[in-house]
Structure formats: C-alpha cells, structure tokens
C-alpha cells in the first residue's frame, strides 16, 4: 500500500469539534470565506428563485439585504472564538451588508421605504 503525504496538516481530532473546525480553517484558509459565500448565495438565489416562480419578478435588493444580514449573523457567531475568521473578513462582511442596504434604500421610492 502506498501512503501519500497530505497537502495540509490533519486536524487534531481528540480535542473536540471546535478544534477540528479551527484546525481545518487554519490549514485551508479559503474554507470560511467560501462557507460564508455559500450562506449568502443559498439565501439570495433561493429567495430570488422562489419569488420569481411565484410572482414572475423578484425583489433583488431586498433579497440581497436578507442574504447579507444572514451572512453577517453567521460571521458574528464565528467571531466569538479565535481562529474562524479574522477582522478583515468581518469588515468585508459588514461592508457588503451596508452596501446591500445602500442598494435597497436607493432602489425604493419614498412611499416604499
């Protein structure tokens, strides 16, 4: 049997699920940002798709705000323990949430906001 070297350090599986996640996130740095991207697009595309199916059109700015707030909350939960995200990603998520708000409020008429 041939054993190949792993491309990353295997997580220490003896110290709990948190540590496994943090070790994985440390070894594979793209994991957490891509996970957040996944959360965003599941909500955004899911909402837009279902609304289009029901109404024929979709409210893109509103779904963008809902998706970014969902991502924002997941990011905040990750910020409690060190190792999941760094402050740069947290700032980017906050900025994307704010930009979604800018899009939403500029999209609305005065009677709709």
């Amino acid at each position: 049997m041939i054993f190949l070297d792993y491309l990353y350090n295997l997580p220490n599986a003896t110290s709990g699920l948190d540590e496994i996640l943090i070790d994985t996130a440390t070894s594979v740095t793209g994991l957490i940002p891509l996970l957040l991207l996944f959360v965003f697009f599941v909500v955004f595309l899911g909402g837009v798709g279902l609304q289009t199916k029901r109404l024929g059109t979709a409210d893109y700015p509103l779904w963008s705000v809902v998706a970014s707030i969902s991502t924002f909350l997941v990011t905040l939960l990750m910020s409690v323990k060190e190792g999941f995200i760094n402050i740069t990603w947290l700032a980017v998520v906050i900025v994307i949430t704010i930009f979604s708000g800018v899009w939403l409020f500029l999209d609305r008429k005065i009677t709709e906001v």
């Binding site: 910020s79 409690v80 700032a91 906050i94 930009f99």
Partner: protein
C-alpha cells in the same frame, strides 16, 4: 425627487449605524475574540456618522423651532420644510463617506484594484468592438 433622495440617504446612514452598532455591541456582550471595534476605519466611520446624525437632529430642531416661534406679519409667509429644509449636502457627504470606506475595505486602497479595473475596462472594450463588428457585417449587435 430631493425628498426621496434625502430619505434614502438618511435611511442608509441609520442602517449603517445600526449594523456597525450591532456588531460592536455583540462583540462587547459576548466578549468576542474578533472585535470590529479594533478596526480603525469602521470605528471612525461610526463616530463620524453619529456626529452627522446628531448635527442633523440639532439642525432640524432649530429649523422646527424657528417655524413654531415665527410670527406672521401682514403680507408675509412662514418658512416651511421641517427637516427637508436642511442642505441635502449633509446627507450626501455622509453617504459618500460610507461608500468610500466600503470601497477601500473591499478593493483596498492600493494598486491591486487597478488590475481589476484594467481587466474590467478591457472586457467592456471587447464587448464594444464585438458590437461594432456585428453591426458592421449586418447582424444584430445583441
């Protein structure tokens, strides 16, 4: 149109303050390891916006006070407009500030963004050339 823009800008400012405030308080309440208040730029933006909002409140109060305390002489009219009598520049500059911080946070202030911009403009140029070429040979530019 102006009222609509002023309302939009005001709500954008309130939304930004709410989001940043929530993040800061979440970190403070839960003793979070990654705290957004360690980020200088976002903290500065939050402080600036709170100052802007406070100024906006004082200005609208003084405008309103001047309306209710005004007396109408024969042949005169009262000033009106409430908070919308303010200069919309206040709202605009705060919104510009929000967008500027966002731009720097996402794309960075450095030359890295120039690469993206060059690629994007090249792509637009390519689309333009294709459209011109298609129109030239008689096909639909779409």
């Amino acid at each position: 149109m102006l009222k609509q823009l002023a309302t939009s800008f005001l709500l954008i400012i309130l939304f930004t303050v709410a989001i940043i405030g929530f993040a800061v308080n979440f970190a403070s309440d839960n003793d979070a390891e990654v705290d957004i208040s360690d980020d200088e730029m976002i903290t500065e933006l939050n402080t600036d916006l709170e100052t802007d909002l406070s100024n906006l409140g004082e200005d609208s109060e003084s405008t309103y006070k001047s309306i209710i305390e005004s007396s109408v002489e024969e042949g005169e009219t009262t000033p009106s407009g409430g908070q919308f009598a303010l200069n919309p520049q206040d709202y605009l500059s705060a919104t510009q500030n929000i967008v500027k911080v966002g731009y720097v946070k996402i794309f960075g202030g450095g030359g890295g963004f120039a690469v993206f911009l060059t690629a994007f403009v090249s792509f637009l140029g390519l689309l333009l050339i294709l459209a011109v070429w298609k129109a030239w040979i008689g096909r639909s530019p779409d």
